[in-house]
Amino acid sequence: GESVGLHLPTLSVQEGDNSIINCAYSNSASDYFIWYKQESGKGPQFIIDIRSNMDKRQGQRVTVLLNKTVKHLSLQIAATQPGDSAVYFCAENIFRYKLSFGAGTTVTVRA
C-alpha cells in the first residue's frame, strides 16, 4: 500500500485566508519530502521540499513543516489566491531516487 497519504481529500478556502494541507507518512527512514501542485490537465509542478534534518522550510508564500515524531508533513499557503486552486500532493523518498506519492488534496479557493 501507499506509505504517504493526505488527511483530507478536499479543502475549500476563502480567498486571502491561509491554507493548511496535511500529509501523514509511515516510512520513518524517509529522508526527503516534496510538495507538488497539479493544475487540471497538467503535470505535477514542484513547490517546495524539505530534508529530514529540518523541521521547517519557507518559500514564497509557502511553508513546509515536518514533524518526524508523529510522521506528519504539512504545507501552509499564505494569503491563498484563486491561482492556488489545484490538487496538492506530498511525496517521500522511499528508496534511492524513488518517490512515493499520496492521493492528493484538492484545494478550491472561494472568491
Binding site: P9, Y32, G43, Y97, L99, G104
Partner: protein
C-alpha cells in the same frame, strides 16, 4: 528550455493494440521516470532509468516496456493494451546529482483510453 515534453497528449486504443508514449527532456538529466495516475489517485512509478542503457522496474511495470538509448529520450511501450491501462501517464526527469534530495520535473502527461 522546453523541460520535459511528452507526445501524444491524448490517445484512444483498442484492446490488444500497441503504442509507444514518447518522452524527451532537454535538461541533460541523468534520471528519467514513467508514472501513471489513475482518477483521484496519486502517481505510481512504472519504470525508471538512471542513465542511457540502464532501466529498472518500479511499482507497476507489468504490461509495459522501456528503453533508454540516449540521455534525452525515454519511450514507454505498451505491447497489448488492456482497459486496466487506461490512465494518465507522466514522464519525469531529475539530475541524479542531488543525492536523496533529487527533485523530479514532470511533463504535461498523455491521457490514454483503452476501449
Amino acid at each position: 528550455n522546453a523541460g520535459v515534453t511528452q507526445t501524444p497528449k491524448f490517445r484512444i486504443l483498442k484492446i490488444g493494440q500497441s503504442m509507444t508514449l514518447q518522452c524527451a527532456q532537454d535538461m541533460n538529466h541523468n534520471y528519467m521516470y514513467w508514472y501513471r495516475q489513475d482518477p483521484g489517485m496519486g502517481l505510481k512509478l512504472i519504470y525508471y532509468s538512471v542513465g542511457a542503457g540502464i532501466t529498472d522496474k518500479g511499482e507497476v511495470p507489468n504490461g509495459y516496456n522501456v528503453s533508454r538509448s540516449t540521455t534525452e529520450d525515454f519511450p514507454l511501450r505498451l505491447e497489448l493494451a488492456a482497459p486496466s491501462q487506461t490512465s494518465v501517464y507522466f514522464c519525469a526527469s531529475s539530475s541524479g546529482t542531488g543525492g536523496a534530495a533529487d527533485t523530479q520535473y514532470f511533463g504535461p502527461g498523455t491521457r490514454l483510453t483503452v476501449l
